[in-house]
Amino acid sequence: MRPEPVRPLPAAAGPVPAGPRLDVYPLTGRKGFRAAGEVSLPTRGIWERALGRAVREGEDVYHLELSALTFVDVAGADALAGAARSLGTGRRLVLYRPPDSLPRILGLLWPGLTGIEVAT
C-alpha cells in the first residue's frame, strides 16, 4: 500500500477537481456569511474560524448562506452543532439552502439540537 497520487482508471476518467477550497464572505445588510466550496479535512479550519466569529459576534440571529457549499463532512456538521450549542439561549444560526446531506446528518447525529434553523 505505497502512497501514490490518485489516478483514475481510464474507464473512470472524468474531471478531477483541484485541491478543495472553501471561501467565506461576509453578507451585506445582515450579520452572517456566505460559504462556497466544500467542508472537509483540508478546509475544516476555515469553516471552524468562520463559525467561531459567528459565535463571538453576539447577534441573536446569524445567517449562513450555504447554496454554494457542495459538501460538508461529519466533522463540519460537528463544528456547526458545537457553534449552535455555544450560542446560548435565544440565539440561533439560520441556514439558507444547505446541501441536502447537512440537515440529514444533523438530524441523525444530533437529534433535537436547538440553535440551528433551516430557512424554508
Binding site: M1, P3, V6, L9, A11, A12, S40, V74, A75
Partner: protein, 317 residues
C-alpha cells in the same frame, strides 16, 4: 426470566428459540404484556412477518408498543445498537426497566451479512452492561442453520429452549470469542478493471478520492440518497485513514449483485469493537464518522488486525 440465580448485571439478554408461530407468540407476547402491565416501555424490532404476528395477537394493547421492522431498521447489523436499541432505550425516562424484543438474525440473511449479525449480537452485551434493560432475541430453530443457533448460545448469557418458557444460563456464553471469530479477512476486492475504481489516497487527495468514488458510484447505478451516502461514507472512511490510520489508504469501489461496494484499507488498527456503535453524547466533539457510516450503509463489514483495517460498505442500487 432467568431460571437460575439472578445475574449481577441488571442487563438481561436472553435468546428465545422457537420452531413455529405458536412458540414465537408464547415466548414474545407475555414478555410484551408483562412490560405493559408494569408500565415499562417496550419495543418490538423483528422482521415484518413476525411483527404482524405479534401485533395481531396484541390487538388494541399494541398501541403502547413501539414497533419497528428489523429488515428495514436493522438491515445493517452495525446500525442496530445505536439506531434501534439505544435510540429507544436512551429516549425513555430513567427509573423503569426498558424491554425490547430484537430479532437481528433471520433465515434470509446473506453470507456477507451473517458475520456482522453475530458480532452485533455479541457486542450488545458490552453496549448495555449495567443498564436496566432486557433485550429478548428470538431465533428460528427450523429455518436458521446450525451455526447461527450455536452462535446464539455464545452471544447470549441466558437461553430459553424452544417451547420451554424457562430460561437457563448458557454454558457456551463467550461473546468476546464471537467478536474475534467473525473478525474475518474479507474476500479480496477485485483488481483493476473497467468496472472497478481503485486508487490510493492521502491528505492531499481526499477530496479527489471522494469525487472519483461518487462519479464511479453513479456509473454503477447509484443515484439520489444512495449516492449522497456513498459520498459521506467515502469521506468519513478516507478521512479516518488520513487522521488515525497512518496517513494513507486504498479505496476501491465496485458492484456486486444489487449493491455498490466501497472499501477502504489502511494500516491502522481499530482497537475498540464498539467504535461506530455508540451514540455520541451531545456535547462530545468528534468521533461520529463511523457512527454515521453505520447509520446510512446497508451493510458494514470490518476486518481489523495488526496488519491494518479494512472497512467495506454496501449500498443498495
Amino acid at each position: 426470566m432467568t431460571g437460575a440465580a439472578e445475574p449481577v448485571d441488571p442487563f438481561v439478554h436472553p435468546a428465545l428459540f422457537y420452531g413455529d408461530a405458536g412458540e414465537y407468540l408464547a415466548g414474545t407476547v407475555p414478555f410484551v404484556r408483562a412490560a405493559l402491565a408494569a408500565d415499562e416501555p417496550v419495543a418490538v424490532a423483528v422482521p415484518g412477518e413476525n411483527l404482524r404476528l405479534i401485533r395481531d395477537e396484541l390487538g388494541a394493547d399494541g398501541t403502547a408498543v413501539h414497533f419497528l421492522d428489523m429488515r428495514e431498521a436493522g438491515r445493517n447489523p452495525g446500525r442496530i445498537i445505536p439506531g434501534v436499541l439505544r435510540a429507544f432505550a436512551d429516549g425513555r425516562p430513567p427509573g423503569r426497566r426498558v424491554r425490547i424484543i430484537g430479532e437481528p438474525v433471520w433465515a434470509g440473511r446473506s453470507p456477507a451479512e451473517y458475520p456482522a449479525c453475530a458480532q452485533h449480537e455479541a457486542l450488545i452485551n458490552a453496549a448495555f452492561q449495567g443498564r436496566e434493560v432486557t433485550i429478548l432475541c428470538p431465533y428460528d430453530t427450523v429455518r436458521l442453520d446450525e451455526r447461527a443457533l450455536a452462535d446464539a448460545h455464545a452471544t447470549h448469557p441466558v437461553v430459553i429452549p424452544a417451547g420451554s418458557g424457562a430460561g437457563r444460563a448458557s454454558a457456551a456464553y463467550d461473546p468476546e470469542d464471537v467478536v474475534a471469530r467473525y473478525n474475518l479477512p474479507l474476500t479480496p476486492a477485485p483488481g483493476a478493471g473497467a468496472e472497478v475504481l481503485g486508487l490510493t489516497f492521502d491528505a492531499e487527495s481526499l477530496s479527489a478520492a471522494r469525487h472519483l468514488a461518487t462519479g464511479h458510484g453513479a456509473r454503477l447505478g447509484l443515484s439520489g440518497l444512495a449516492l449522497e451516502n456513498l459520498a459521506l461514507i467515502t469521506a468519513e472512511l478516507t478521512t479516518n485513514s488520513v487522521v488515525h490510520g497512518g496517513g494513507t489508504g486504498a479505496l476501491t469501489v465496485w458492484a456486486e449483485g444489487g449493491h455498490v461496494l466501497c472499501e477502504v484499507r489502511d494500516k491502522g488498527r481499530l482497537a475498540d469493537p464498539l467504535a461506530g456503535r455508540r451514540p455520541a453524547a451531545r456535547d462530545q466533539r468528534g468521533g461520529r464518522g463511523l457512527l454515521l457510516v453505520n447509520l446510512v450503509a446497508d451493510l458494514v463489514r470490518i476486518h481489523t488486525g495488526l496488519e491494518g483495517t479494512t472497512i467495506r460498505c454496501y449500498l443498495g442500487r
